[in-house]
Symmetry: C2
Subunit: 202 residues, 2 copies
DNA sequence: CGGCGGATTGATAAGATTCAAATGGCGTGG
DNA sequence: CCACGCCATTTGAATCTTATCAATCCGCCG
């Protein structure tokens, strides 16, 4: 069992619907619940002083919000309209105690998140801008987000600024990189938020 | 209980001693054990193609090696001579199942690690070089590593390259930044690997 | 059919990297 | 205990990438 939803199956939860740009929780707040995305896309971000915004990750259906178990260390916002399953902390910990296998699943999920952050860190610190964008697009592709008109097409739900703040670039640079990838024949844009990838890989 | 060692207290483990630059495990290998640092300092790193090296984090006494539960997604090397407690995977999972509180402790530790990686990511993506080094030195200071001649002195066990690969900079840049911090009066070097900090904070 | 915000394009400048060379510290062996 | 040699660190100058500032374009929604 490696699926969070199965691990928490049967535990009480509430459905939450949030609109684009609305926040699910904010950094610093005490954690009331554990959230699992059901539909849509969230961004997990850390806000710095002067409006600087680091997007730690984007969350897609089936993924759990790992951003604190006592107090949130990041904020969550909806990138698109989304629906979320909220398990109360009580229900969560009760399940963790009662079902070792569920605990194991959550631990494995946390480890996957750590691995992902590790790669993210690697790309951002040791990769040039173009390589970062390639990596991001490939990652998006594997998420297989519903929204493309066909299987070939990759849907990019977030804005250029979101991508920029995820990759540690300026939005203008992201825009220029899309152009560069397109002129190299590595992708074809079929809209501002959808494209067809032909990456030869990073 | 928030200490990993207490959580695993009583579980069987082996002492491992490793010398400087020796590896404890390598990325890709199956995980044989869960390691807790007892003495010394390790670096957790991801190796890229052409010898590029991203140091995800440094591990100090009391910290656990979160780098995969099935297969290591990073390698661990000794920054200094170190001694490690190795808990077999069996012993680890047995304890996790039997003792919900231990599982909770490990989950909290994983969450702390996630939080730390989040901040790391933030600094590296949205901070200028000088701010990154400040942040690193402050972080080191809070680790309170044994080795300084007195309480004022901060011991820096790792090389400039290690710092560079941790912060996503060139070693030369790190060197220049030390100079800059010193000329600004924010630190005083009392040796290549020890200094006294007077940071006004980032 | 506006109008508005996100996306793109252009020109310039700042910051960090790179390559190259000199210096220094540390451990080793005599 | 001292001298030597090696490797890490530091310093210097030129280059390159990406950020920044500014203006325009485009698409989407009312």
């Amino acid at each position: 069992m490696t699926d969070i939803r199965s691990a928490l199956l049967g535990a009480e939860f509430q459905h939450i619907a949030i609109r684009k740009h609305q926040s699910l929780f904010r950094a610093g707040q005490p954690v009331r619940a554990i959230y699992v995305v059901e539909r849509g896309c969230l961004r997990l971000q850390i806000n710095g002083g002067d409006g600087e915004r680091e997007i730690v990750t984007f969350l897609f259906p089936g993924e759990m919000s790992f951003a604190g178990l006592n107090r949130h260390w990041a904020s969550a916002y909806a990138v698109t309209e989304a629906s979320i399953a909220a398990y109360s902390l009580d229900a969560f910990w009760t399940r963790m105690s009662a079902d070792p296998e569920a605990a194991m699943t959550v631990l494995l999920a946390a480890d996957h998140m750590l691995e992902h952050l590790g790669r993210h860190l690697q790309m951002v610190t040791h990769g040039k801008a173009l390589r970062r964008l390639r990596w991001f697009l490939e990652w998006l592709q594997t998420r297989d987000i519903p929204g493309g008109s066909d299987a070939e097409e990759t849907f990019i739900p977030m804005s250029r600024s979101d991508i920029a703040d995820f990759l540690g670039l300026a939005p203008e640079t992201v825009s220029r990189l899309f152009l560069r990838l397109e002129s190299r024949g590595e992708l074809r844009r079929t809209g501002a938020h959808r494209c067809i990838l032909q990456l030869a890989s990073a």
